[in-house]
Amino acid sequence: MNVSLHRRVGAIALTGALALSLAACGSDDPVAAGAPAGDATEAGSELSGELVGAGASSQESAMEAWRAGFQSANPDVNVSYDPVGSGGGRTQFLEGGTDFAGSDAALKEDELTQAAERCTDGEAIEVPLYISPIAVIYNLPGVDELNLSPAVIAGIFNRTITTWNAPEIAADNPDATLPDLPITPVNRSDESGTTENFTEYLVATAGEAWPHEASGDWPVSGGQSAQGTSGVVQTVQGGEGTIGYADASKAGSLGTARIKVGEEWVAYSPEAAAAVVDASPRAEGQSEHAVVVELDRATTASGAYPLVLISYSIACTAYEDPAKADLVKAFLGYVASSEGQEAAATSAGSAPISDTLRTDIEASIEAIGAGA
């Protein structure tokens, strides 16, 4: 009795579920098939099509948020982004393989001439839409706050300061009880924009303490290193007395050091990161529609956090297909909007661009499509 009742209930539930799923299938298909067709007839009123991008992996998680936000507003647009790396992204874009690129560096001179060709007599636009603070992360139990001046950071990462209770560190942290523990600096093992920005910062601020050049590849050989931001964070977590640098949003529960700017100790924050971009001048020698920032790493502006990574979105003023231009324009417009920047801040921990910067960026984006 009991068994048969169970069986019957089960059978009914199964039938119901089947019916539901079948119904779902039935109603789904016509919608999916009908939407693009219906849209093609009324093109212009709504955007549709394929938007392909590739480039810096730093933008990847922000791009996820932007893609989701943009596609929910424009359901017929399909945005894809391949995080192949900045160099690869620029190359693919210049060769016409993608519609836009993400890059941690602005276009170089020879790339600008290539861009003119790719952009069908237009120009390349470069806009900084992703600003991310880089944190100096450390794993030192018992030390919750750490002040590090640029010279000390350089000394640690150049392995001239080798223990945590070294006088150089102790001088800046009178209140902390620093253990007698060897310092294990952790760097990125792959070529990366984070490393490039970090070394740029050290070159600009640390003076003689940092004898190496800025480069995307870590200049000091030997020692601990790991692939990718998550690898560095995991390695810093895995040992005691470790210190590394990583995208601030991925720092997790690790301690983050305050760095010395002027006479102040500044902790990373989205506002502080945006502040340094505003305080920095624009780079020369770029195209008219490029908003390229010459980061002033040695800034002494109050409340600015100069250890940031800027990643640009690169597109064309003119595309062979005007519809493509509209798509790119709409997408970048959304990314630059406060809504888009908020979305990236929530999901990727980036710093939203300031309103002054947005005005310039919007003027550049306005130029898309005007050239055709």
């Binding site: 190359t91 060897p182 093992s189 070529e191 990366s192 290193s225 040992g239 007395g241």
Partner: protein
Amino acid sequence: MTTTTSPTAPVGSPGGAPQPPRSARRRWPEGRATRAFRWLATGAGALILVVLAAVALFLIVRAWPALTADGATLGEDISWFPDDSSLLRFVGPLVFGTLLAAVLALLIATPISIGIALFISHYAPRRLANGLGYVIDLLAAIPSVVYGLWGAIWLAPRLSPVWQWLSETLGFIPLFAGPAADPPRVILTVGVVLAAMILPIITAVCREVFLQAPRLHEEAALALGATRWEMIRMAVLPFGRSGIVSAAMLGLGRALGETMAVLMILSPGALYSFNLLQAGQHQTIAANIALQFPEADPTGVSVLIATGLALFVITLAVNMAARAIVARRKEFSGAN
């Protein structure tokens, strides 16, 4: 057909009447099938050669720009290429690191594998042996990225105190010179994880070989009063020696090419160093390719492919050496 022609005939006659045509009909498709199968088999055999040649050709063609360029220009073009160096000097430490990691893995895995295989073939009760065999085979099915995660996140923190102890007590041996790196992202950790990865294949081959050991030899040994261990030493191991070597070489092949686990566990460096417990000393070819490829420009890709060519040559050499060993030992193995 049979029902209409001979409804009343006994069972033998309807079968007998159509037999000649049917067998003729069968011989034709059979001949064609045989021929088709032969061609298919030959084609499959040839395909493997074609694939091998194609891979070699691809590697050489794509590596050519790097092979012909001189070190100075490569150093200028590629950020991770050491300045005033040459391709040979760049590949050298990578080859060294690759071989070191693989040899460490082999040193750890081979004795354990032989032990497991002997346990399964000669010691364990049959039901347990079957179950254990399945488990070992299952280990081989785990993707290497999972081994990498396991090694980096779970195993490494647990190995740290062991390596610390090793460097403190055996630090006078240059191999274990301290201080041991913390976190232990070192070549010895990689060796342990690689050993776990190649364990299944070595065990599986060894097990099969040990099971083939001539029963009569074993029984003769036992009849002469040998203990089980003596029997294994006298009858099973000599017979299985060439099998053990080829099993180890199969494992070595896998260890040489392993990428993800090394990439996730090792802090890379480019030195000819025997410091097994220090970070930033070694790197393997495969892991280096995976690490540098995403941001590499065309010249960089060419250099990476040149290192891939080196790995290809090493793997080929290892396999040929294994074949040579197996062939030379065959006569003495007792298999005949």
